[in-house]
Symmetry: none
Subunit: 201 residues, 4 copies
DNA sequence: ACTGGCGGGACGTCCCGTTGAT
DNA sequence: ATCAACGGGACGTCCCGCCAGT
């Protein structure tokens, strides 16, 4: 197989990434042996390692893409859209995400490599969105943006875990409603209007 | 062939489990090699495999214990206590829990073995507690017990993930407050008393 | 196979080293695959790597032993004995020595490890012997000990190469005579001038 | 399919050989991977394998050239010139020579291929030169040409090894003087007997 | 003539669980 | 009950040479 065109190259890389995601999802990082990657992608070791210098490289690239996709989704469409995505989408990549988290914690070198790769500007756009909604009164402002953001992160990660573990996922609308009840601002009426004086934590 | 007393035996098993937990937490399941288990426990392969028939056996036992402990904590002391535990406790075992979840999803045989081991009655006690609080008006009753329970599960798992990944954990009180605002029943006053008419999902 | 006695352990290690030497000699370092090491020693990977942490470790240990043996031979019995050994002995280990030399040159880390392992006192004993012979008039003293030593080293290494490459080795006595003619001191009568009738070798 | 001129072709081949020599010297035969050959030559696999059917082919060609060059140097300019070359020249190709020798010994097929390639007439010219010097009285004649030749070979190979291993090489003049003292014929006055006071180097 | 994607074998190392000995 | 030597399978990576394409 000779030098290939740019589109062919891109298509080839996507094929590898797709197969790899399925592998990582199904078997976990360690369980996704190179033999299984070959099986799943239909390509040989030679082909795979021509495009990715190692199994870890492949894995990081997948994580990076997911990370960007999800942060962008939040920044552009908000929490609700993200919850729906997490609940409804094929759970395969969720497992990859968990795997990723574990390695992030237990593997120093991996954490370092990740920091170099992850796009930091997206994190800012997320912050901006939350602050905007606080200013507009849609989100309570008696908690800091950071506190709100972390809580949302907790809920989202929790959804990932439950999906990733194969539990029956909670209904998306229920989660959305509960979280909105939790973080709703005073400006809008529904639950909880009386004591706007509530102290900050 | 010396025989040891029951207390010695118990102490030996605890020692193995403790070392194993540290290993699983630090290195993940696959990374927790038998050599490292030996190191961490100060015992030899022979001793470890004398009490546990395989590495997986060891792992399942650890997971079973954590699972029981946490469900019991919720059943007896409620959500608030559980959040505080999750946020404040040594995050080592959290990583083990995540590892556990991954295997639960990706490994059929493992899932089967787990079902045989996990105590089902605790799950009932958790349900009972939630229903009790709904009846008492402390928890909203426009959502089913199952919906509430799953939401709480999501938040708790999310906390585990964030802690387990080594992120800065959110403040326990903030999480507690937000979740309480989400699930609070109508009976008590604070945020949201006016529209009790809100439809069930 | 359980814990073994000290003599058994020593015997086991010798067996591994012997097989490894044959392998390295026959196939070179890279050619001595672990599979061949297993074959040649009659032991499994598990057994081999239980005693030596890596293939390189095994190799260095062999080189260290040869190095010590030869330096000691020179220090105790002199050049003549060493030449005879090099010419007559099984050439297997000579190839190992060459292999060793190449790695010493091309592999930085290897050179470092070697420096830590090689016995430095033997080098001193060699020097002492040469200086002693110079003082006694047996070796010329118009060249420094270092110059003499290096020349002898050159000749010895040359013998190793010729043997190691499988060339017909030169006759030991001829080499000894030529080298002695080269380094003989003034005190003794030089190369049989008296009887030009000296028999041809 | 472009065809290149003969000079271009030659230049291309030289470029490959040069890069290959550097690679073999720096990394050894096995360590000189095709990737590194590409790097060092600035050409691709395709180009290299277009001119040489395999890595081994490339290696043999290098060895053949060196072999011829050195034998010719001896035949034309004698031992002294060869020693100086060996001591002063870039040691890179020396490592290649050692590598070559090892393969010559350990690899049957390689030895066969070599015999087909090496120029036999040069060996004769070397013999002729030694015999000529013996007849002229410059080299002792109480040893056969073969014995002298082998001894010189030993010394020269020894120099190669010491250089190739990265040891501090002995001074060329010292080696020349010692070897001349060893092989000098009776016709000439022997090693400076007149002035026993000869300065130390 | 030259490129480089690719196949697929082989390599060193790791690692689990067994077993004979203590 | 505990120890550690060991077997042997599996893993990620490397690497050579082929060949389809330019």
């Amino acid at each position: 197989v000779p030098k290939i065109s740019d589109t062919d190259k891109q298509e080839r890389i996507e094929r590898i990434l797709d197969g790899a995601r399925r592998c990582f999802a199904r078997y976990g990082y360690e369980g996704a042996t190179v033999a299984r990657l070959e099986e799943e992608t239909g390509l040989s070791r030679g082909a795979i390692f021509n495009w990715f210098s190692s199994k870890e490289e492949l894995f990081v690239e997948l994580a990076r893409r997911d990370n960007e996709r999800l942060l962008a989704l939040f920044a552009e469409q908000g929490f609700r859209a993200l919850v729906r995505t997490l609940v409804e989408e094929d759970p395969d990549w969720l497992a990859v995400y968990l795997e990723f988290g574990r390695r992030l914690r237990s593997d120093e070198a991996f954490r370092t490599r990740w920091k170099e790769r992850a796009a930091p500007d997206l994190r800012d756009r997320v912050r901006t969105r939350i602050e905007g909604e606080q200013a507009a009164g849609a989100i309570r402002d008696d908690l800091t943006e950071q506190e709100i953001g972390r809580f949302l992160g907790v809920v989202l990660d929790g959804l990932v875990v439950q999906r990733g573990m194969g539990f029956e996922p909670p209904d998306a609308e229920v989660v959305v409603r509960l979280v909105e009840d939790a973080i709703r601002g005073q400006g809008r009426a529904r639950r909880g209007t009386r004591d706007g004086t509530r102290a900050r934590a």
